[in-house]
Every structure is written in C-alpha cells, then in structure tokens.
Symmetry: D3
C-alpha cells in the first residue's frame, strides 16, 4: 500500500511502551535521531512492533511545523 502522506522515513524501532489505550513508540530515523510516536494500542499490536524491527515513520507534510531559534 502506498499512502499520500509525503514523509515515510525508514526507521528502527527502539522502544515500545504500551499504555491502556495508546502505545508510545520510539523510532530511530538516523544514528542518534529519534522520533516519538503515539498510536493506538490496537494498531501497535496489529503491526507487531518490537525493539529492533524495521519500520517507517509516516508523517503528513501539513503536520510538520517549522521553528527557528
């Protein structure tokens, strides 16, 4: 399946912390660069995410804000 979201960054799952409804997933998208994701527990289970697994961080372009110092 190919999705219209503009960003699909190759990543490695570093940590999976399940809550009661949501699961927090830490993805490493480059050495030392991590992105935190919060998805529903049902989705995390269905994707069978676990430490070390290859995955993608998928982000819509309109959900990326830009900031400057």
């Amino acid at each position: 399946m190919k999705v219209s979201a503009r960003n699909a960054l190759k990543a490695t799952v570093k940590k999976v912390v399940p809550g009661s409804v949501n699961t927090e997933v830490t993805l490493e998208i480059a050495p030392g660069v991590e992105v935190t994701s919060v998805i529903t527990k049902a989705s995390a289970d269905s994707l069978q995410l676990s430490e070390g697994k290859e995955a993608y961080a998928v982000i819509k372009a309109t959900d990326v804000m830009v900031a400057v110092d």
Copy 2:
C-alpha cells in the same frame, strides 16, 4: 518558547517553494534524510526561512504514524 510537541528535530532548510497560500519547506534532519513541510506562506515569511538556515522540524507524537513492510 518551549512547545508541548514531543518532537523538535534539528534541521537545515534545503528548499523553500512558496505557493499562493502555502509554502513547501524541505528540511534535512540528518545527512540524506529529508522531511517535507507545508506551512502557510504567512508563517514562512514571518520565520524568514531561506536555504541553509538552521531550523527545527516540530511534530506532535500523535501525528507520527508507524508503518511496516
């Protein structure tokens, strides 16, 4: 200003393409890893974004989806 969005990735502005209402900004967050952002033209102007400038890609954790092959 410190924002509640969980992800604030250090980046370099690679490209700024202004449209009539929105501006597309390409950010390099690691060597060879780019993220595309679409923000309003008014915001892009106010941040004075231009190629080579240091910036951040700011993304809420709930806006990061996870995908697997």
Copy 3:
C-alpha cells in the same frame, strides 16, 4: 506497507480536481457514500490517481470526530 492509521476504507476514485499546490480527491466508499480528501498535488501525482481507480481512504481514529443532531 501497513500503516498504524486505524481506518483504511476501500474506495473508488470518483473525481480528481488538481489545484496549484493541493488536489481534491472524491472517494466513494460505499454506494452513494463519498468522502472528500485534500492531499498535496505531488502526492496525488505520485499515486497516479484517476477516475475509476481503486484506492483507500486512510484516516486516523483520532481524526474522526463524532456528532449528533
């Protein structure tokens, strides 16, 4: 690719209206039930969307609001 978004509704593309930056896509997800999507023109081009094509409407559960009369 399997994405963490909870909803992936089978659909048929009914209409594709390209703008300068964004493209409006009308998807029929059941007979007489249509969903309107606005994605970037670049994404629409890359997915090669056209009338009659099979596609999916992908929506995160947290992006579905509920209303009552």
Copy 4:
C-alpha cells in the same frame, strides 16, 4: 451548528468502549463499512453516545489520506 469540516457521514453507533481518558467509538457508515473514532471521554459522555444511536462521523478533508495497492 454547521461545521466547516467537509465530511459529515451519517452513521449508527455500533460500539462504545470507554477508557480512562479516551473513548473508542465504532460507527457504521454503510452496511458493513465501519469507522473507528477515538474521542475524549468527556466528549463521549456529553454526546450521550450508546449502541444504536444515530450519529455522524465528521472528518476534515485534509485528514483523509489516500492510498493505493
């Protein structure tokens, strides 16, 4: 109240699963076609959602992604 969100799909509530902060609501928008929604528990309570109730799935056009196989 009429909202600017482009999609307001007529639906029947199929399931309401309350968590501690969020509630998961399953809406049937056509025979056999279901959409999952996660809203805050406070909102679900205020809308008095229960199985069989008529409701709407309200979704902004920019929150509908498109995917193809």
Copy 5:
C-alpha cells in the same frame, strides 16, 4: 449538530480572505483576541461567512499545544 470537538469558542468573523482552494478566516473570540483559521473555499462558501457574522472556532483538544516562555 453537536460535535465531539472539546472547544467551540463563540466568535465574530473579522476577515475572510479567499484563495484558490483555501480561505483564511480571522475570528475574534474575545475583545482583541483573534484566531486565524484556514478552511477549504468550498466550506467557507457553504457557511456563507462574511465580516461581522457570528460563528464558532471549533478546535479538538489534541490540536491545542501548550507552550511556555
């Protein structure tokens, strides 16, 4: 229609700037406090927004970030 979005702030329309696809709407939610909204042109037309009209700014709780200096 009553929507699950947590915030529905009473407002007065101060400005409506139509683009080709999107329309920018400025809403005054308290004396001197304005909120900018970008909705699709089709939605703005359907709501018949014009300066001075009473309206609401509707915002999901998860779309409100918090920042501190």
Copy 6:
C-alpha cells in the same frame, strides 16, 4: 523558539489533570474564555505546568474549524 503555527494565544493555566499517558490542561485565554488541551504527560511534565502559570495555547490555522448556528 518561534514556531510556524499561526496562533499563539497568551493564556493562564487554570487546571492540570494528569492521566496515565495524557494530561488535560485548561487554559484561560481571555476573562471567562477557556480552551482545553490534551498533551502527553511527558510534555506536561517537561513544561512544568501548574495552576496560575503563564503559557500559550498554540494552534495551527488548519486545525481551527469554523461553525455557524
């Protein structure tokens, strides 16, 4: 840090209700006008939010819907 989100409304923190994963924050943006925000507990902790503290409600223009009666 200056963010591309169009709306940054000055506010006072009225209430902070921590859950297991998310925290609900009530912000007063004008006398008698409150906005509810749901952010991750980790973000709320890192911002050290507490009643009476000055803060901002930061909202992207595309996340503000408009409604009329």
